[in-house]
Amino acid sequence: MLPDSKHEPLLKVVNLTKTYLEGESERHVLRGVQFEIYKGELIVMLGRSGSGKSTLLNLISGIDVASSGEVFFGNRNLTALSENERTLFRRESIGIIFQSFNLIPTLTVAENMLLPMELTGRLSTAQQARALEVLEEVGLKDRSDSYPDRLSGGEQQRVALARALAHEPLLILADEPTGNLDFKTAGQVMDILQRLVHDEKRTMLIATHDRDILNLADRIFSLQEGQLVEVTLDTAMGV
């Protein structure tokens, strides 16, 4: 399903490059990446291990800084912001799902979910209620007081999903969300993702090499040799 409007991109990435210094030599991970994401789209980004998928997600979220190029959220140039401003923007506007769940072991399930909102210092009752709804949607309402080390891998990833969604960010970035899960659990997680994203029209960029996710995608990109190329579903399946 296409988004309502394609005229106003939610995210615009312009000529983004990232170069790492490895000893004396330079490794160009991203070479002039350009693309746009529109509100409500689910974009899947394919690529082999080490192709730069995570790097691109880190640059989009402002976790890392690009060597050159720009990232726009609406009219806001993320690359022009300071570290602190990027962090504040991220916690308001972006939800992140990691391959290895990355829940905070010192916080309960509920606290992990509420973390981005709590960090703002303005956690409202409505937000709390919404977070509990999301937790219910991922089927873990009864585990809200448990600590992460008491949960299975699938449960942990569902909490991570809920955390990324609970504060209703503009964009959800998912880095190999099923990469650490077995086939069955991955399927469950994908079902939740599909329901939450498509039913609630969330905007999402998923980096993966799990071809089962491709069926959910509105558009598919492939990251090859530092450049992002849009591909069709058939091509992607054959890649």
Binding site: S54, T55, N58, S61, I63, D64, V65, E83, N84, T87, L88, R90, R91, E92, I96, F98, Q99, S100, N102, L103, I104, P105, T106, L107, E111, L114, L115, P116, E118, L119, T120, G121, Y147, D149, R163
Partner: protein, 830 residues
């Protein structure tokens, strides 16, 4: 790695430094004692360490003993070099031959006739003369008991070997008659030295000598004096060693923590190695090998630092010995191989011991869980009841050791160590409890960051509890020693208040602050007693006597109300004892004397007097904090009945009502001018001087305390570094979820502050327990003093503040590092 090396180095440095300081002091004493003892096997002394010189003549002429040499020894100060003392050895060069090799040179290298016949001549070693800027033929001004005299140095001795150079250093050799004039000992000797034949024939010789010796003269083995001196400082030295070991215990926690961190950090590597077929034994060897490297490096640095630190401490230790026990000058400080070997053994041994648990941890986990940090934390949390039980067991054992009959200081310290371990093993449970209590508060103050900071102390319990335990131990040592010193000081203050009742105290300058046995010239005494504005003058005499076959200080007090007013009795009937004290052969003993010799009211003390051995009844035990060696108090009447001595060592003066004490002092000073230099102190200044000496004595303790806190600080820094580095990924995730760099600071600071606060709180009960043991067990067993515990809220508050500050300070670097790090790096290292 750097921090653990530093931790080992600091621990070793403190132990080695204290050991070197103690060894140097002992060695200096041995050398100075060897200088005057030589090859003598026995000596004859008098009742007050004075012997009539006729005994020597009789011994040579009548008893026909050839291997006998008269000796006078003592110390003089040098007015041109304030603080410098010279050891004086008065000899008869003609009798010296078999006794001292170096004094043989006196006979061979100089004008013997002049040395013997001229008054006031002496010889010095060339090295000492050079240090004093003196040449042969020069006159050296020396001062004894406030009287200045000149000695003409007629020759300089060249030492034949390094050993004799050390023995000769700081030694002024004079003829007997010069020494007698110098020390005001006309017709008297310090002792007669003897070389008795083989052991098998000695008993017959000793019996014959005892038969021959006049009343008051006693035959002793030459080693007795050294043994007595060593005994004097035994408790003092042992307590210093124990304090230095405390730094090593804290250091061991640090090593354990660092080694565990090093294992945790490389968990994935260890897991991979195990998966690739590396055996558990090989992993164990790997970790232990690394510990060995840290141990060797740290010990090497620690030895060098210890040697440097020892040079500073030897000065403090010597100062205390000089203030409290006897004159000692440490000329060279001794780099004993044994001290260094102990340092190596302790440093490497402690490191390996501390590394065993982490090494086992690395090897014992199954491969699948080696990669999971949470497994270890779960294990620690599951093991909490067992740890609590172990803590209880340790505490009970410690208490049993403390209540065991006996006076062993070593066992007291062992009990102290077990109690420290008991508290350390209870730390994880206490941390969990306190963190749970703190969580709501931290949440209210810092929101989710505060809550995470509190919960984090539980989540990484294996790390946090070690850091908190090491800080707690160091801080509790500060409280324990602080309360002990405070209690001691306030007890001494009260005692001084009670004891020092006169307005002015006059005495000749003595060599040892706490033990003034110098003699006031009789004319001075007369001047003082007749001084206008003085309504009461009471004398005191201090002498060294032999009581129950041990050397003891005798304090002889003149008649007057000051006896009763200034003495608080611990045992004995205050209504009756003072009448008997003045009239009969009743003496009083100080609390330390009573403790050291197990003498109580009703017991008798057999004392060697000028009238022969005499039994004295102990009428009371009195509180006295002036000397840990103890003293016997005797009335002047009784003393004059049994001893020929009529001298006084000091006089206390009571000013007339309304008399300006300072004006009185000035007036007396004017009248005494040019006669004998005396120390004249007002009540207040004597009190201050006494407390100054007290404070000086505890300087070493304060230095050691600070070092222990510093070692603990390094421990906390290392633990926090470990924690924060381990959490790099967690913090990165939080950063990814919107945690700002400022919030990272807040998180780390709140957590470290909480850890410091926990350590501070827990250090209070442990510190007070340590103080109780130090005061009521170790002090009692070491010195026998009754001290009133004086706990000021300030000292407890300071301890908590110190703990929080140390922790916060230790958190600065990790917080800075974490707030600046790029979260992408940690997230990439998946």
């Amino acid at each position: 790695m750097f921090l653990s090396v530093l931790g080992v180095a600091l621990g070793v440095a403190v132990v080695v430094a204290i050991d070197l300081a103690n060894t140097s002091a002992t060695e200096a004493f041995r050398l100075s004692s060897e200088a005057v003892t030589g090859r003598a096997t026995h000596h004859i002394v008098g009742s007050r360490e004075l012997l009539d010189e006729r005994v020597y003549l009789d011994l040579r002429l009548e008893a026909g003993i050839k291997d006998a040499a008269p000796v006078i020894d003592g110390f003089v100060s040098i007015p041109s070099n304030p603080g410098r003392m010279l050891q004086v050895l008065g000899i008869d060069p003609l009798a010296e031959g078999p006794f001292r090799s170096f004094t043989g040179g006196v006979g061979s290298g100089l004008d013997l006739g002049r040395f013997i016949s001229s008054e006031q001549t002496g010889v010095l070693s060339a090295l000492t003369a050079q240090n004093l800027n003196i040449e042969a033929g020069d006159s050296l001004k020396v001062r004894f008991e406030g009287q200045e005299q000149s000695i003409t140095i007629i020759s300089l001795l060249e030492a034949e070997s390094e050993q004799s150079a050390r023995v000769l250093d700081n030694l002024l050799i004079v003829d007997i008659s010069t020494a007698q004039a110098l020390f005001g000992m006309a017709g008297q000797l310090s002792r007669i030295e003897l070389i008795l034949s083989e052991e098998s024939e000695q008993s017959a010789q000793i019996a014959a000598l005892n038969e021959f010796l006049p009343v008051g003269a006693v035959l002793e083995r030459s080693t007795t004096k050294s043994e007595t001196m060593a005994q004097m400082t035994r408790a003092f030295s042992l307590n210093l060693v124990a304090l230095s070991l405390l730094a090593l215990v804290v250091g061991m926690f640090l090593i354990y923590n660092t080694m565990t961190f090093s294992v945790v950090q490389r968990r994935p590597t260890i897991g991979r190695l195990r998966a690739l077929g590396v055996t558990q034994k090989e992993i164990f060897s790997l970790v232990m090998g690394e510990a060995l490297l840290i141990g060797v490096l740290g010990t090497g640095i620690g030895l060098l630092a210890g040697i440097a630190l020892g040079q500073g401490l030897v000065h403090l230790v010597t100062q205390s010995i000089n203030d409290l026990y006897y004159v000692l000058r440490v000329r060279t400080w001794d780099l004993s191989y044994w001290s260094l070997a102990k340092g190596v053994g302790l440093g490497v041994g402690a490191t390996l011991l501390a590394a065993i648990a982490p090494a086992r941890e690395a090897t014992s986990a199954p491969i699948s869980t080696v990669l999971q940090r949470s497994t270890e934390e779960s294990r620690v949390r599951e093991g909490l009841p067992r740890l609590a039980l172990a803590s209880l067991g340790l505490a009970v054992t410690a208490i049993l050791l403390l209540v065991l009959p006996g006076n062993s200081i070593a066992i007291s310290y062992l009990a102290l160590l077990l109690l420290i371990l008991a508290f350390a093993t209870a730390t994880p449970s206490m941390v969990v409890g306190m963190a749970r209590l703190a969580r709501p508060l931290m949440s209210a103050v810092g929101g989710v960051v505060g809550r995470m900071a509190a919960q984090g102390t539980i989540t990484a319990l294996s790390r946090t509890s070690i850091a908190i335990a090491s800080l707690m131990i160091a801080i509790s040592a500060t409280i324990g020693v602080g309360v002990m010193v405070n209690s001691f000081r306030s007890t001494v203050e009260v005692w001084l208040e009670y004891t020092l009742r006169a307005d002015i105290y006059v005495s000749p300058p003595g060599l040892v602050f706490r033990r003034n046995d110098a003699t006031l010239l009789p004319e001075i005494e007369a001047i003082l007693r007749s001084q206008d504005g003085v309504v009461g003058a009471y004398s005191v005499r201090t002498a060294s006597v032999k009581a129950n076959n041990e050397r003891a200080d005798l304090v002889v007090v003149g008649p007057g109300p000051q006896r009763k007013e200034g003495t608080r009795l611990k045992e004995g009937d205050p209504d009756r004892v003072w009448d008997r004290f003045g009239a009969e052969t009743t003496v009083l003993v100080s609390e330390p004397y009573s403790f050291r010799n197990d003498i109580h009211v009703g017991d008798t003390i057999t004392m060697g007097t000028d009238q022969g051995e005499q039994a004295f009844l102990v009428g009371a035990v009195y509180y006295d904090y002036g000397s840990d060696l103890g003293a016997i108090m005797m009335s002047r009447n009784t003393y004059e009945m049994y001893f020929m001595d009529r001298g006084v060592s000091g006089i206390s003066l009571y000013a007339a009502p309304g008399q300006d004490v300072d004006a009185l002092i000035e007036s007396i000073r004017g009248r005494l001018a040019g006669k004998q230099e005396v120390n004249m102190r007002s009540n207040r200044s004597l009190r201050e001087a006494s407390l100054d000496v007290f404070d000086r004595t505890f300087t070493v303790t304060i230095v050691l305390r600070l070092l222990a806190v510093f070692v603990a600080f390094i421990g906390v820094l290392s633990a926090l570094m470990a924690l924060q580095l381990e959490r790099a990924r967690e913090l990165s995730v939080m950063r990814a979820n919107g945690l700002t760099p400022r919030q990272v600071w807040k998180y780390v600071t709140m957590q470290t502050g909480l850890m410091g606060f926990m350590a501070g709180l827990m250090s209070i009960p442990l510190g007070l327990t340590l103080a109780y043991i130090l005061i009521h067990v170790i002090n009692k067993r070491s010195f026998g003093w009754t001290l009133q515990i004086d706990i000021t809220p300030a000292i407890l508050g300071q301890a908590v503040i110190l703990a929080v500050l140390a922790a916060l300070l230790a958190g600065i670097y990790p917080a800075w590092k974490m707030s600046r790090s790029n979260p992408a790096n940690a997230l990439r290292d998946e």
